[in-house]
Symmetry: C2
Amino acid sequence: MLSVEEALDRVLTAVPVLGTEVIPLPDALGRALAEPIDSTRDLPPWPNSSMDGYAVRSDDLQGAEVSRPVRLRVVGEIPAGAVAQRPLRGGESYRILTGAPLPPGADAVVPQEEVERDGDQLGVARPAAPGAYVRPRGEDIRAGDRVLEPGTTLGPAALAVLAALGRPVVRVYRTPRVAVLSTGDELVDIGTVPGPGQIPNSNSYALGALVRASRAHLQDLGIARDDPDAIEARLRAGLAADVLVSSAGVSVGDRDFVREALDRLGARVDFWKVSMRPGKPMTFALIGNGGTARAGASAAGPSERADRPFFGLPGNPVSCMVTFELFVRPALRRMGGYRVIHPPRVRARAGEAIDNPGPRRGYLRVQLAGPPERLTARPTGEQGSGILRSMLLADGLAVVAPDTRIAPGEPVEVILLRDEGLGGVRDDGGA
Amino acid sequence: MLSVEEALDRVLTAVPVLGTEVIPLPDALGRALAEPIDSTRDLPPWPNSSMDGYAVRSDDLQGAEVSRPVRLRVVGEIPAGAVAQRPLRGGESYRILTGAPLPPGADAVVPQEEVERDGDQLGVARPAAPGAYVRPRGEDIRAGDRVLEPGTTLGPAALAVLAALGRPVVRVYRTPRVAVLSTGDELVDIGTVPGPGQIPNSNSYALGALVRASRAHLQDLGIARDDPDAIEARLRAGLAADVLVSSAGVSVGDRDFVREALDRLGARVDFWKVSMRPGKPMTFALIGNGGTARAGASAAGPSERADRPFFGLPGNPVSCMVTFELFVRPALRRMGGYRVIHPPRVRARAGEAIDNPGPRRGYLRVQLAGPPERLTARPTGEQGSGILRSMLLADGLAVVAPDTRIAPGEPVEVILLRDEGLGGVRDDGGA
């Protein structure tokens, strides 16, 4: 059986990075940048005042004292958005407001609190150092500077920089579209009263939320009965998406309905088991162009489309969510062009014993407490693959080797599940 | 001058928590729950099989051995979504699939790998413990259990639980609408070539992104010239929103245009300075119903609307973003009903000296490196309030007391800026 690392490696090798598109800057929040950004200008574009005050020549103020203030003539005013009518000459000053360009000839600003003004006469009682209260041209960013690298998640500060560079649009990677299917004769839509032996379909909602939390677009394919025809029909409807994800239906009793449907779609199954707990029955396949051809090649246009990755996740709700986090989310991030694709990991100490009997690596749901430098991990109660409460309470997944019991106080590695969670260095600046 | 804590306390006391609304479950991702959720049912609703196999009475299998297997008769099959036709009697078994309800009379499941089947005859070579491979009714959640508290951020696991409880809709707090205004004669729209003394309007993009990263809705009021009439007109257009945020225009030279506009709107200014660096000139006001009455009371309906909080942020890009993070984001979270409203904080060690000269507390932009338990913080270069690069590179804000130099290796507290950043326990499970 494949290890998690081997399986993830196969997934990340197989999935295509999607194409790029040019979109308006505000829409780019949280998207992955698809071009390097080199500044085309100096920021600020000219030396400017950091205070409301008076632009001066520092030479003029040498020797200024309270008892013997230097007198300057105010020859004009430079508000924000304006420039000086003419260069500053010896013995002159300009009234200047914060952010306004320094007039040629000036090399310092005296704050308004430090002067005496009477009509067009200014009294300055102290010398000014050259450059005082002046922001030099290009002190933030210089023309030619590499400002942002491709693959960066565009957060508020990146959008601010792109705006300051005057960029109304930006090239980003396309957002993956993910078609989600639940399978199972026992499932009813939520809001419908379940009959005997029936339960509400929760996996569609879990997967839909996980897709959107991964910044991907959702196409909900609903519920398919345990029947290869029904599953095939719904999967065909999902072939216009970039990725297909189903839950359950793999190895239902004596038949494997999802495998049958995949065969009919001409899919190549890469693997169908991973050595992990929960989540062992986990199928990864690629659905080739044949599937599309029958489904509706028009959507894809004349050119061949890339293979569509297919993830067949287990039906148990916890297994379904954990396998999504470990395999589908990184795949969606890779497809969406993000440089950072893996969830952050932190090191914690076991607050109580964390037990993983059996031959498969465990991904146990834990709660974290304490400051990041002294995190404690405790299992969220019963860890059965049907126990949704264990996910509801979880901050992360403790990674535990086969047949291993981590004693209280021993270190344990934890994969963070929360977007706004704890610890773990990652460079996502996204929103 | 107010301290940051005093100012934030005034803001959080003044802002109203918004009303609630009932929305479809999938739309609730990332929203704050506005009702307690008590389970109305047991999950799972009946004891069910955790394996594909055979439902049995464990009593029947006492004494089973490889050399002397117990023979049982297979009297039916229970696939997912079905129930047994009749209770199990002594000497009988039901074929049962994963998740299907255990038939009355059965108390254990024998996995299919462990039996020999021949027609309707089953040979079992080992005893089964009572409860083996059976998930008891209510093992996940019991009817009456408090499952979720109001104020919880609804993440994928919470949506999965609500779906499993059969809830198609959920009551959440309303999402704040935030009207954003940039002011300044020097500003031009991005995409327009700036004239002499002009710069692109970056604050609208920074604030718009910060609003959306705070999960609030944006109303962009554009750019107002440095003129009280222009500012007043745009702010009036924003009175239909829940919150108004402007940047710059506070104390422009000899006049305070934003203050003049606020006076005309009948606003009560609570404070207009906070002892911090960057960000000292930071106005907080409440615009009462008078403002609305003149602007368009029809939108508000017949009943009086709550005061609208107004934040007048500094115009320097870094000051603008930092004051948003420290004051506006927590206010929006409070208004949106979230239990967790403050950004996470971590403790790091200074990787190089972090210097905060002057009488105001510093919020210096730093990069964090290393594992969460041994984070190192280094300033992101020049810390001027116009240096956007310092924000672009920042993982967080180092909080440094006035006139203090933190030497390399000394501890420093850091407020995290990244949603998907590092460290700091918070209970947001949002997406």
